[in-house]
Symmetry: C2
Subunit: 357 residues, 2 copies
């Protein structure tokens, strides 16, 4: 029998955390349990547990011992990142008016349907959104509880505090800039990169690694190397995502082909194409501006794809991914991370930047 | 020159906290600062600072020394409750589709107006709600940061953790039960009391007192007395609110007369009236059920007021307030709280339960 993989261990820790909340939930009573159960299903249903994995690997790479006595506490602290993520996703789905997530109804759609089914008063959509706002809040505050109750000693918790705090302030900033950039149609590469930096790179890789490092008591040099590695791989990861959002195989990505073009997402890919078109090909620039965020036919999507290639934007993005990855590996190689940590981080980095889904 | 009052000290602590967040907000850059400034204005603009006051008084009553070296840290920890409250209000205003708060536009209305003014893409309402969701989240996570960075020693923080955690899980539960009760038209006194217990009493008085007590290292007996006092005064406070929501003078309360009847709020007052009417006066019960939550004329509001009095519900609520207050004072009097703590708590309790606005 093989040892359980990290995602399974994270799920076990999350499951245990939900059990630990039962007394307070039951003391409130009424139908609170039903709402909490919906949150629990959302959290346990999946995802790749990317953030806990990077945090854990950061800890191991900084000398943490997976067989040591504090490994359980560290696992719980790392797993708390999944509750931050649950809160972010539930609220994001309201903001983006998304109807499905991981093949299931989003929380606000789920509760609107329950309202409709029960024939309750008021608008089902309003009820669904209200419950999703509250459950997202609950996930956010429970993330803190899970970290605080993880069993980490007071000194480790004190070191984690500022990292945890910065991460959450940054991701909310990244989300804000994302929606502000979308409504104001900010076309700059700089604005798109800023969103990638804070909404994705810092939140998904840099800060989780940083978190793992401070738990292990890493020195400033290793923390700095981790952060440079995490930022660059995080940015490369998002650039890969941008390419997949336009060129990805729907059978592999699970998203409709050209989804990002139809939704009007302000990606670096698109910004680079516009930048070149504005200089060299004003007609192409006009086509791009008129097409983005509209209900495109498959033929129009295909036409835009060719345009992004012809303008050199795809090549530029691939080049950026390569440069970022190279620079990240240099930072990692030159660091004092353990060999096993380096090996894991390299593998995770390649998985994140070379993926097809 | 007199010493600053507690609300002013709380505002000073909050102002200082916002200054401390500037580096991370500016590192994210873009327009994040604008959004954060809107949150800061919301937080600093007011309210009575009820929760920090109860927490502070709980600490003083448990032997905390307002002139001691840890008073600054305690003040900051107590003030963090205002950020929890800001998050709750901003999200509540979305849920209730409220347009004003403390005489100003609610956050979602404010940002919808900015969107409209700038002629941005998409629906202004959707943008306003999205920003308000994110700023409510930011207030919630900053509440944690402010507590963690308050300067309380690790042992005090460890004692505060479970109280802080329970308080937030309870208030979100109370909010959930409130909206679930409203859509399902739950008519029971029990359901309305449960909402009052968790949405108001625990969150506004019981847990803040508890928080202050554990910071001071109070023993179980004093904590128990505080909690009983806080629960009862909290319930009485909400019952007074129910009466003011129907009978309050609009010039004093600042809310339209009969507001709770028009909005369909499921109060204990209304539930008691229905309970009696169902037994003794089926016609009155029908009138109540048909009227609640509809766009009533002033004459209809006046008719319902008379009905609530005739059915004895007003008398019952006044009786409950008196009983709760009496029981709360007994718990307080029999406790080991300091005399100055008792005096302050008695005054606060009377202000909360005998008020006219």
């Amino acid at each position: 029998m093989s040892a359980p993989l990290l995602p399974e261990l994270v799920e076990g820790a999350l499951r245990q955390f939900f059990v630990s909340r039962a007394p307070v939930v039951d003391s409130v009573g009424g139908g609170y349990r039903d709402a909490v159960t919906a949150l629990e299903s959302f959290v346990l249903r999946g995802g790749k547990r990317v953030r806990p994995s990077f945090a854990w690997t950061g800890w191991v790479g900084a000398g943490g011992d997976p067989k040591g006595t504090d490994a359980g506490a560290v696992l719980r602290a790392c797993s708390a990142l999944e509750l931050v993520q649950a809160g972010a996703l539930i609220h994001d789905d309201i903001i983006d008016a998304s109807t499905t997530r991981r093949g299931f109804e989003t929380v606000h759609i789920d509760f609107a349907r329950r309202h409709r089914g029960a024939g309750w008063h008021g608008r089902p959509e309003q009820f669904g959104e209200a419950v999703a706002i509250l459950l997202g809040d609950l996930a956010l505050v429970w993330a803190d509880d899970m970290l605080r109750d993880s069993g980490l000693d007071a000194e480790s918790l004190a070191r984690v505090g500022p990292v945890w705090s910065a991460m959450r302030t940054e991701v909310l900033g990244g989300q804000y800039l994302d929606i502000a950039g979308e409504v104001s149609a900010d076309e700059s590469v700089e604005a798109a990169t800023r969103v990638n930096r804070y909404k994705t790179a810092a939140y998904t890789i840099e800060r989780p690694l940083h978190l793992g490092a401070v738990i292990a008591g890493a020195d400033d040099a290793l923390i700095d190397a981790y952060r440079r590695f995490g930022t660059d791989i995080g940015l490369a990861f998002q650039l890969r995502d941008d390419l997949l959002g336009v060129f990805g195989d729907p059978h592999v990505t699970g998203k409709p082909s050209g989804d990002d073009l139809r939704s009007g997402k302000r990606t670096v890919l698109f910004a680079l194409a516009l930048e070149t078109a504005d200089v060299n090909d004003p007609v192409a620039a006009e086509v791009l501006r008129e097409a983005i965020g509209t209900d495109l036919t498959d033929e129009q999507v295909e036409r835009l794809r060719m345009l992004l290639i012809e303008l050199g934007a795809v090549e530029q993005v691939e080049q950026r991914i390569a440069t970022l990855t190279e620079r990240a590996f240099e930072a990692l190689d030159g660091s004092t991370a353990t060999e096993v940590g380096k090996a894991h981080l390299r593998a995770s980095a390649l998985a994140a930047t070379l993926r097809t889904a």
